[in-house]
């Protein structure tokens, strides 16, 4: 099996690079959008609030596969044709935005009211208060959850196989189709996913403990 794995590894690694690239692009699109949605959900204007809630709830309720297919096969109906990479980025970016917005919202909500009052007393406007006082503290609280989400998005890149993106799973599947050695090549692909996810998960737990060092054991 090990000799085979040596043959498979180059194409699987190029697939892994594509998976990582897709995860990075989705997070780059999704995270800022998630923060924006978190602020929109608290907007005084109801139209803004409801639009944000609809985007968030749909992103959480609809399977990632359906969103990917909507972006890839659905959008051409209204004359928007995306490459499989862009379609996958749009689908996974939407999911990232939907889930991260709840995390940002909880983080921002955890910033004590006194911080808002102190900023007001110092004469900071609403925008400056959020930009320099509330958001930096809120993001710090939300960081472990956001990193956990980033790992889940990396796992979800495997779904882009269904729209023909040559990422890790589709490379493995192609090799399986040629060699009929599905078990061997899929096992290697699974191990490669685990080789990214497990250390990343351990790292996130480490960061979580470090950020919570000032808390009493019961609060952690």
């Amino acid at each position: 099996m090990l000799a085979e794995w040596g043959d498979y590894l180059p194409s699987l690694l190029s697939g892994l690079a594509m998976s990582l690239k897709l995860a990075g692009a989705s997070l780059l699109v999704g995270m800022p959008l998630g923060l924006t949605l978190a602020l929109m959900v608290q907007a005084p204007l109801w139209v803004v609030r409801w639009v944000a809630i609809a985007i968030v709830e749909l992103g959480r309720a609809v399977p990632a596969l359906v969103l990917l297919q909507l972006a890839y096969y659905g959008l051409p109906t209204i004359h928007i044709t995306l490459t499989s990479f862009l379609a996958a980025t749009a689908g996974l970016g939407w999911i990232t935005a939907a889930y991260s917005s709840e995390m940002f919202r909880a983080g921002v909500a955890s910033v004590p009211e006194g911080q808002h009052e102190a900023s007001a007393a110092l004469g900071l406007g609403r925008i400056d208060t959020y930009r320099s006082i509330v958001i930096p503290q809120g993001v710090r609280v939300a960081l472990p959850a956001l990193l956990g989400l980033a790992i889940q998005i990396f796992q979800a890149t495997a779904l882009a196989f269904t729209i023909g993106l040559p990422e890790l799973l589709s490379q493995a599947y192609d090799i399986g189709n040629e060699t009929f050695r599905y078990l061997s090549v899929l096992t290697l692909a699974g191990l490669l996913y685990a080789a990214v996810v497990l250390p990343a998960g351990a790292l996130v737990r480490g960061i979580e403990l470090r950020l919570g060092r000032h808390l009493a054991p019961g609060q952690r």
């Binding site: 709830e57 959480r60 309720a61 399977p63 096969y73 495997a158 078990l183 899929l186």
Partner: protein, 213 residues
């Protein structure tokens, strides 16, 4: 109209797939969780490794391993069976962690109080700890069940005729535009999950008030 009716016809398969996988997970998670919490390293270490590995590899890879991989051992499963099995086994790992979280949330005084009352370990578990752990864990279980419902769509990749598979079929037949067919499909999942998610949030506050911490 027929296209949409055809897609809705996949709903029983989607729901059955989700329910069977959830049932396997709900039951299989119990021994896995007890092994994970055991004092003996011989149980704890393999249980933890299994849970971590099952959760680290994307579900679709497990699905392919079960469906395509097992053929090398001359085990050929029906697509539906393979999907139930793969999603069920992955659920065991996620639910074991959810159950464990429920137990960890209970105040240790409950264990001591049970001992002081002379309850046996098994009775303490059954009448004192498990009911409280379940209350804490229930909202997370519902959330996971919804994630599982969404994951049933993976089964389309190996040819199970559930909702998304039929949607793909209909887009190829071209009776309606791909956009409207896929939006309809998205709406089916949204109608199933959004009310349940709202319910789970209500449940959370109601149940948490009945647990000793």
């Amino acid at each position: 109209m027929d296209a949409y009716r055809e897609i809705l016809g996949g709903l029983p398969t989607t729901l059955m797939l989700g329910l069977l996988a959830l049932a396997i997970g709900a039951i299989g998670a119990l021994p896995l969780m007890f092994a994970r919490r055991a004092r003996s390293l011989l149980l704890r270490v393999p249980a933890r490794a299994a849970i971590d590995l099952l959760r680290a590899v994307p579900p679709i890879v497990w699905l392919f391993l079960v469906f395509f991989g097992l053929t090398e051992f001359d085990v050929t499963l029906q697509p539906f069976t393979a999907s139930v099995l793969a999603l069920g086994v992955v659920s065991c790992a996620y639910l074991a962690e959810i159950y464990r979280g429920g137990f960890m949330a209970i105040d240790h005084g409950q264990v001591e109080a049970s001992q002081a009352l002379g309850l046996r370990r098994r009775d303490a578990l059954r009448f004192v700890l498990a009911p409280q752990a379940l209350r804490v864990a229930l909202p997370a279980i519902v959330t996971y069940a919804l994630a599982l419902l969404k994951d049933t769509s993976l089964a389309y990749t190996i040819g199970v005729r559930e909702v998304l598979f039929r949607a793909n079929e209909e887009t190829q037949l071209g009776a309606a535009s791909p956009l409207s067919i896929l939006l309809f499909t998205a709406a089916i999942y949204a109608v199933l999950s959004i009310p349940t998610a709202l319910l789970a949030r209500r449940l959370d506050t109601a149940l948490r008030s009945k647990v000793a911490r």
